[in-house]
């Protein structure tokens, strides 16, 4: 396909993220920059989806963008504060699953099958009817169903397929056509690339199409599945991108980010400086440099880890022998 998918984060989010959408927010290389843009554009009524929803999801909750979360882990609920209160008061609806469940549900959505069996959750309190109907629930009987295998009577939990309206992902590189290449442990991202109805990917590097063709096995999703690709160096900050930069834990402390879920005031203090007050990701990185200097940014640069040596080839023979003309 020769349709160009490269655009700014502003265009990508305004064109492809609609109020009320269900949104996968990434995991190992979380799309922090794209999430900040969603907050900046003040989208509303979003449902957050992810095996474990980290601080990038907290921003969408505290920013008033998200009112539902379907996940196995909500980082913002770890400490008492505004998010816990929202979950108790019903202002934030939630459906508790697990990392495996969300990953399998995304796979089922990608595969186009109605559900996928799991043997997780058997024997737990999650399956009690009274817990399925908890105050924060919004799926009810559509959450899951305990069944028996028609072949061997094995009990299992049927997990419904999950096709997020939008998936926000950050990867290492892509070409302008949206062919995305990613490496390293993927968490639940791999299947999100295929489960999303609209896939938006921010990348560290835009590379020539020819470079993608040199190693098609490194491609995690082809361009025709991608709605938008955004060139966003350090776009995963303050998380990291394997091979480029590592997590900036210090920033989360000094910026007030690690306190943003405690109260609306704490959120405003952080968000006014680091999201609303900045036009885009470029301005965000510029502000970082002004506040903390290049040397603090440089402390997260990667300095260790392996690189593949040459040796792999996707080789074929240009002329195939169909007859033996020249036997000795």
């Amino acid at each position: 396909m020769t349709e160009r998918k490269l655009m700014t984060e502003s265009d990508a989010v305004s064109r492809f993220v609609d109020d009320g959408d269900s949104v996968y927010v990434g995991y190992t290389a979380a799309a922090y920059g794209l999430c900040r843009e969603v907050v900046r554009q003040r989208k509303t009524g979003l449902e957050l989806i992810g095996g474990s929803v980290g601080p990038q999801g907290t921003m969408l909750i505290m920013g008033g963008c998200a009112d539902r979360v379907r996940s196995g882990y909500v980082a913002a609920a770890l400490r008492p504060g505004a998010v816990q209160e929202m979950m108790n008061s019903g202002k934030l609806k939630y459906e508790d699953y697990s990392n495996q469940a969300i990953a399998l549900m995304l796979m089922a959505g990608a595969l186009g099958i109605p559900f996928i069996p799991t043997r997780s959750f058997l024997g737990t309190d999650y399956l009690d009817r009274r817990n399925v109907e908890h105050p924060g629930a919004y799926l009810g009987e559509k959450k899951w169903k305990v069944m028996e295998s028609p072949f061997d009577g094995q009990q299992f939990v049927a997990l419904p397929a999950l096709r997020p309206d939008v998936c926000l992902l950050h990867a290492q590189r892509a070409d302008e056509f949206g062919n995305v290449q990613s490496w390293g442990h993927q968490g639940d991202a791999k299947w999100a690339y295929w489960a999303g109805k609209k896939v938006i990917v921010s990348v560290e590097e835009i590379v020539p199409h020819e470079q993608v063709l040199e190693d098609p096995g490194r491609t995690i999703v082809p361009g025709f599945r991608v709605a938008a690709v955004v060139h966003m160096p350090r776009g995963a900050h303050p998380s990291g991108a394997i091979g480029y930069y590592d997590f900036d834990y210090a920033f989360q402390g000094v910026s007030g980010m690690h306190r943003m879920s405690l109260s609306d005031e704490a959120w405003r203090t952080f968000a006014d400086e680091w999201i609303y007050g900045l036009a885009d990701h470029a301005a965000y990185m510029e502000h970082y440099r002004e506040r903390f200097g290049d040397q603090n940014l440089a402390r997260t640069d990667v300095d260790s880890g392996p690189s593949p040596q040459p040796g792999v080839r996707y080789g074929y023979a240009s002329e195939l022998p169909f007859r033996m003309e020249d036997q000795p």
Binding site: M1, T2, E3, G109, A110, L111, G112, I113, F177, N179, W194, V212, L213, P216, G217, T219, I220, V221, P222, G223, F224, R225, Y314, G315, Y316, A317, S318, E319, L320, F322
Partner: protein
């Protein structure tokens, strides 16, 4: 002008029938040759995929051949992504990403159902065939299907001996009641002409029967009827198809250097 066989014309016309863009999954046999020809002629934006795991394959201008089968290693050169069969026939196809499936089979019937498995009764076969490979799921799950097969009365039958690959099954509404999505517009390209199907909505209404829409040069509709096993519907106006251009023929033959697909007298 250059001589050409009806099989060559069939491939050229099938290529012409392919859309300018979209995701295409190529089945075994002539679909590989016709799909490659289309991609290199009028449809450079076609995203060619195979069930073995090549995604969006772009043949180089000097590609030495069309893929031998669908597992040819050259499909890894020029592909935007390579993966596996679950990703290709599951994620890509069942996930709803395939706009057009290109298929071939031993038999086709008036509703466009295909048979790749057995001639005669499955329980007492007259002749066993290789099997369906990925043909079944492509017919079930692609948004559109284009079928390429030689026109012979024993191949164009009223009802396939065994429906391995559903078209419109038994007529209007049959796909829905079977649990399948709507499909179409579907087409068949034979060694005589091009056929559509009489349904405005992918199998919900209309007769859903095959309709002759275009014929090759010097092929009369009544000749097509002779090699069709049922009373064939014919469009009010039947298009006359132009013969292969020199360019089409030259490229087609260059893509089949071993006559793997178009050996003399094979069709």
């Amino acid at each position: 002008m250059t001589e050409y066989t009806l099989a060559e014309m069939m491939c050229v016309v099938a290529a012409r029938e392919m859309p300018a863009e979209g995701v295409v999954m190529l089945g075994m046999g002539l679909p590989v040759l016709a799909g490659t020809l289309a991609k290199m002629m009028h449809a450079p934006n076609l995203s060619i995929c195979t069930e073995v795991g090549a995604f969006d394959w772009e043949p180089a201008a000097d590609v030495p051949r069309a893929s031998i089968g669908i597992h040819d290693f050259l499909l890894n050169a020029g592909a935007a992504m390579v993966s596996d069969m679950v990703d290709a026939l599951g994620t890509l196809l069942m996930g709803g990403n395939v706009d057009l499936g290109i298929l071939s089979a031993a038999q086709v019937d008036r509703f466009g159902n295909l048979n790749t498995l057995v001639i005669g009764d499955y329980l007492a076969p007259e002749r066993r065939l290789g099997g369906t490979g990925g043909n079944t799921e492509i017919a079930c799950l692609a948004k559109r299907v284009l079928t390429i097969m030689p026109q012979e009365r024993r191949r164009f039958v009223p009802r396939v001996d065994f429906n391995t690959s559903p078209g419109y099954i038994s007529g209007p509404g049959a796909r829905r009641s079977a649990g399948l999505d709507r499909q179409g517009p579907n087409a068949v390209v034979s060694t005589f002409g091009v056929f559509g199907f009489e349904t405005p909505d992918g199998g919900e209404s209309g007769s859903c029967e095959m309709v002759l829409e275009a014929v090759f040069p010097n092929i009369e509709p009544d000749v097509v009827q002779i090699e069709t096993g049922w009373a064939l519907r014919v469009a009010p106006t039947v298009r006359q198809l132009a013969p292969p251009t020199e360019e089409e023929l030259a490229l087609l033959r260059r893509l089949d250097p071993y006559q793997f697909y178009l050996s003399p007298g094979r069709y």
